[in-house]
């Protein structure tokens, strides 16, 4: 089984970290994975995106022309990547910043008010973790406990209180 996905949003929304966490979780589960970010000037204040592939066999191309899942943190991301979804794919939208409906009706859509939910936790920065929680629970591509482990690895001793906040955010969204 090979799953291909796009994570996209504004620079600063933690999109790259989200994608890396999925790839790291895949490694913990003994799976193959690739992570490829957009890079260069487009990263400076523009739209950032990364592609992540998780598979149980070696991955040849790290590039994607069709996807199983798209996680869009803002409108340009949805417009750019919705067309790449395979029929039956999963589209996760940050409803807080996307006030336009997705066009496709052959996919599964989840609208999540990630920024508002993050505000309730007292820190809008963790909107990406709320979306990540939704991603994991809707697609099952990696396990929840793998992500929790990765969060602990990313936010180690010195940043331990950040780990708690991120885990709280990760656990927030339930379908």
């Amino acid at each position: 089984m090979t799953k291909k996905m796009f994570f996209a949003g504004y620079g600063g929304q933690g999109i790259m970290l989200t994608g890396q966490m999925v790839a790291s979780a895949a490694i913990l589960e003994g799976k193959e994975t690739t992570f490829f970010p957009s890079y260069g000037p487009e990263m400076r204040g523009g739209t950032a995106n990364c592609t992540v592939i998780v598979s149980d066999k070696p991955i040849s191309s790290p590039l994607i022309f069709e996807s199983d899942c798209v996680l869009a943190m803002n409108l340009p991301s949805m417009l750019k990547f919705e067309p790449t979804l395979k029929p039956g794919g999963v589209l996760l939208l940050n409803k807080s910043l996307i006030h336009q409906a997705a066009k496709r009706d052959d996919i599964t859509k989840y609208e999540i008010a990630a920024n508002e939910m993050a505000s309730e936790l007292g820190n809008t920065v963790v909107a990406n973790m709320i979306m990540l929680g939704a991603f994991v629970r809707t697609t099952g591509i990696v396990k929840e406990e793998s992500i929790i482990q990765v969060i602990h690895n990313v936010f180690d001793q010195k940043k331990a209180e950040l780990a708690d906040l991120n885990i709280k955010a990760f656990n927030l969204w339930r379908d």
Partner: protein, 363 residues
């Protein structure tokens, strides 16, 4: 197979770490996208591991610092990207002439000129033919995964010493920027500065006492007889490199209708396309040169008469295709399947274009 011993690493950082594990203690860099993570990593990590990092004022200086540290017997790693490699080529010729080891890695982008920063392979000639002057060769390895890149950098630290010649690792923006699980090799035993002359009797260390011979590292040889003799010595070594360093991966070439030749990033996409072609009933094979020089010409002799066409798949206007033609020796038609300027074909595009080429030649 369990991947749990592996860590997720960005290509550029994995290459830097592999160099350190391979014994690199001297790194000289200059900022250029898409390789900036390497000087950043080295500036942060190398001093803590007993090494030295200098941010050079240009790529020209970086390779000359490499020449100095290499001539002094240190293990040196330097990196850049296409236009920066162009500036380094004066130094590459000089290092070959003076027999100074060094591992150079390019995270290739797109030219000509300042071009673009997306992945490209239009520096194939730059890497394999070289822009420096004179009779010299540089072994070139082109990894297609982060793991393979890390392994090749690690191994090349020792190979450069063995051949007393620079080794070039040819990667591109995709490999440098992407992250993959990597199992890192064991660190080699560090050689102290004071012990260098025991390992490298030719190195500049100061002769300390009269027991040791004075050493010079030179490039100028004004007498044609001596220069010719020296070049023959270098080329005897290059002949040995052709025997020992030719590396290639093949996939299903024995009974393929069509054989694609691709390296690095392009080879990964071609591999996916081969699976897609199989689903259409087309048997496609892959020759992936891992060493671009020495090029695996002999591998083409293994192709059978079942093959109808050989396709050179490149992220350039067609450079490797010259070597492919030398390998094919007119046995099969050779076609180019390419994108350039930073455009990367999808596996779907490669599948469709391969099928179209087969149809065109009546396969």
């Amino acid at each position: 197979m369990s991947n749990t011993k592996k860590v997720l690493m960005k290509g550029n950082e994995a290459f830097a770490e592999a160099a350190i594990l391979g014994g690199c203690r001297y790194y000289f860099g200059y900022p250029i996208t898409p390789q900036n993570e390497i000087p950043e990593y080295m500036s942060r990590v190398l001093p803590k591991r007993g090494g030295h990092f200098i941010q050079a004022e240009s790529e020209i200086s970086a390779i000359n610092m490499a020449y100095g540290a290499g001539a002094a017997g240190g293990r040196v790693f330097i990196t850049s990207s296409s236009p920066g490699i162009a500036l380094m080529q004066e130094g590459m010729s000089f290092l070959c002439s003076a027999e100074v080891p060094c591992v150079i890695l390019t995270v290739s982008r797109c030219g000509p000129g300042i071009g673009g920063i997306q992945p490209g392979q239009a520096d194939y000639f730059q890497a394999t033919r070289g822009g420096g002057n004179g009779d010299y060769k540089i072994p070139v390895f082109a990894p297609s995964t982060v793991q393979e890149g890390a392994d090749l950098v690690y191994e090349s630290m020792a190979l450069a010493d063995k051949y007393q010649n620079p080794i070039l690792i040819f990667t591109d923006g995709l490999l440098g920027q992407m992250m993959e699980p990597v199992a890192l090799p064991e660190p080699v035993v560090d050689i102290k500065s004071t012990d260098i002359r025991e390992h490298k009797p030719w190195a500049l260390t100061g002769y300390w006492d009269d027991d040791k011979k004075r050493n010079t590292v030179i490039s100028l040889r004004l007498q044609p007889e001596r220069l010719e003799e020296h070049i023959h010595k270098l080329f005897a070594r290059y002949e040995q490199a052709e025997k020992e360093l030719t590396r290639v991966e093949t996939v299903g070439i024995e009974d393929a209708d069509v054989v694609l030749v691709a390296f690095g990033t392009m080879a990964r996409i071609v591999k996916e396309a081969i699976d897609m072609l199989a689903a259409q009933g087309i048997k496609a094979g892959l020759i992936r040169p891992i060493s671009l020089w020495p090029f695996p010409y002999a591998t083409f002799d293994k192709l059978t008469d079942k093959t109808k066409v050989v396709i050179s798949a490149e992220l350039s206007m067609g450079q490797m295709i010259q070597d492919v033609k030398l390998g094919v020796k007119d046995r099969f038609p050779v076609k180019l399947l390419n994108r350039t300027g930073g455009m990367i074909p999808t596996s779907l595009e490669i599948t469709e274009r391969t099928a179209a080429i087969l149809k065109e030649i009546g396969g």
